[in-house]
């Protein structure tokens, strides 16, 4: 694997008096798929929201491509090549499928044709529906659109918050296949999941977050075999 792309150092996030993230550190290397798994409320989403600049940390550092981006706003962070697929997909219901893709490339001023074709290559169904409004798509199609939209920003790091949430198992499998293909095409991926089984299956490395702290780390395979992980997240006896 390549060099460091993202380093999180002792990150702490506070909402009022509640500390949602209590000093976590991890890193993502160029070309990897890294996943953070953990239960609801463990601090996964807060971590991702902090990296993308929506939330300011109370302590700690976010270093992306060797540059400290902790104090930057979301626009600057997107400009550096960090795109997020938000939890719950959050596609724009009043924009067409094609516009949703274009809005993902909002800060770019070059030709989008190739990128649009590439997204349609991953998700042919989006092409069929390109003139439909985003709000009329099914849940699975919306998730595809949310991923495609993020790809339009030509991210160096693609962050995904619970892409499997509320989707049928067959759709989840399809989404994860695509995540692997996107990664093989050269995009580094940071994935947050409650569906630990799927996430560990695609991940090169994984971290388990509990109560705002990282408790276990290792490769995807190691964690799939880990007794504690199996008992807590994979539902194995």
């Amino acid at each position: 694997m390549g060099e460091q792309l993202l380093q999180i150092e002792n990150l702490k996030v506070r909402y009022g008096g509640i500390e949602a993230v209590r000093g976590i550190s991890f890193d993502v290397k160029q070309g990897e798929i890294v996943t953070l798994i953990g239960a609801n409320g463990a601090g996964k989403s807060s971590t991702l929201r902090t990296i993308s600049g929506l939330v300011k940390p109370s302590e700690g550092k976010v270093i992306f491509g060797g540059e400290d981006i902790t104090a930057k706003d979301p626009t600057q962070i997107v400009q550096k090549g960090l795109m997020m697929v938000p939890e719950g997909r959050r596609i724009f219901p009043n924009l067409t499928v094609l516009e949703n893709l274009k809005v993902g490339a909002y800060l770019r001023n070059d030709d989008l044709e190739k990128d649009i074709e590439a997204v349609y290559g991953y998700f042919p169904r989006l092409k069929e529906r390109s003139w439909q409004e985003g709000g009329t798509l099914s849940g699975g199609e919306q998730q595809m659109l949310a991923v495609g939209r993020a790809l339009m920003g030509r991210p160096r790091l693609l962050m995904m918050d619970e892409p499997s949430l509320g989707l049928a198992p067959i759709v989840v499998q399809e989404i994860f296949k695509i995540i692997r293909r996107i990664n093989e095409a050269g995009t580094t991926v940071l994935l947050i999941e409650q569906n630990a089984n799927m996430a560990l299956g695609v991940a090169d490395r994984a971290y388990v977050i509990e109560n705002g702290k990282i408790t276990i780390e290792g490769t995807g395979e190691e964690l799939l075999k880990d007794e504690k992980v199996r008992a807590a997240y994979l539902g194995a006896s």
Partner: protein
């Protein structure tokens, strides 16, 4: 017959002037979910600017300058009174808007001494023209045409340009828009700029017809334009325009009924009665979006 034509013409013209104000309400509401109570007073200030500037310079300089300064005023109001309250409850922002409204009215009283000021005669707009045997001012003919052109341009901006796409995105979801790299504050400023520019154009047309400007002169047209925006479905531009034309025409018809019936004084009350009836049967207005979105 000639009388009917003249009533209809002036109804369409008043409606067009309301439409230009109503768009400002509906645009800002669409993005901030804020009823910008100061908008009618921005319109009044544009009228006063028209008086003061036209007194010292030719019309072809003063009117563009009126639009420019009004745009700047709208921009500053958003920066100073609404942006600091971005994460405050909506009620606080609304009260801030009411405060700005009074500030503008009081400032106008201070500057004018509270005396009604007379809007200058704009050459051409005020000259008369003969339509189907009726004498009328050019402004009456020009207003609906100008409104249609401006609404068409605005529609193109919103549906065909990148800024317009960002406006539509921001109107649905601030946070996700930020994740796409959109600077939402810049987009919000754009909506205030557009709304104020249209109000400034509206002021030139409106005050050519009703030339007396008091510090309260923005209140009634502003309120009616707001009613028009709600009537058409607040947040919808075509709704605001159609609502404004309907209200303008109905109002003028009531004013134009035979004086023996003695109902013309109720024309304002009628506007609001119409609003109540519409809201009973169609609470979201004519073109308003339904309350639920599929997510």
């Amino acid at each position: 017959m000639e009388y009917v034509i003249s009533v209809l013409l002036s109804g369409i013209s008043v409606g067009g002037q309301y439409a230009l104000i109503a768009i400002g309400y509906t645009l800002v509401y669409g993005i901030l979910r804020l009823i910008n109570f100061a908008h009618g007073d921005v319109f009044m200030v544009a009228g006063l600017l028209g008086i003061y500037l036209t007194a010292t310079m030719p019309v072809y300089v003063s009117i563009p300058l009126v639009i420019l300064i009004t745009v700047f005023l709208g921009f500053i109001i958003e920066r100073a009174a609404y942006r600091p309250l971005r994460s405050a409850p909506r009620m606080s922002v609304m009260i801030s808007a009411i405060g700005v409204s009074y500030l503008l009215q009081n400032t106008a009283t201070y500057v004018t001494g509270g005396q009604p000021m007379t809007y200058p005669v704009i050459p051409f707009l005020s000259s008369t023209v003969n339509v189907a045997g009726t004498q009328t001012k050019w402004v009456v003919i020009l207003t609906p045409i100008l409104v249609l052109v401006l609404v068409y341009a605005l529609n193109m901006l919103i549906n065909k340009t990148k800024v317009g796409m960002a406006m539509r995105a921001v109107s649905k979801d601030f946070e996700t828009s930020r994740l796409m790299g959109i600077r939402i504050n810049a987009i919000i400023s754009v909506t205030f700029v557009i709304g104020s520019a249209l109000a400034a154009v509206g002021s030139v047309l409106f005050f050519t017809n009703y030339p007396a400007i008091t510090p309260m002169a923005g209140a009634m047209p502003g309120l009616k334009a707001f009613v028009a925006a709600v009537f058409g479905g607040i947040g919808s531009i075509p709704g605001a325009v159609i609502g404004a034309f309907i209200i303008g025409i109905c109002e003028t018809i009531i004013k134009g009924l035979p004086s023996a019936w003695d109902v013309s004084v109720f024309s304002d009350a009628f506007t609001f009665a119409l609003l109540i009836v519409i809201l009973i049967f169609k609470p979201q207005g004519l073109f308003g979006e339904a309350a639920t979105d599929k997510v």
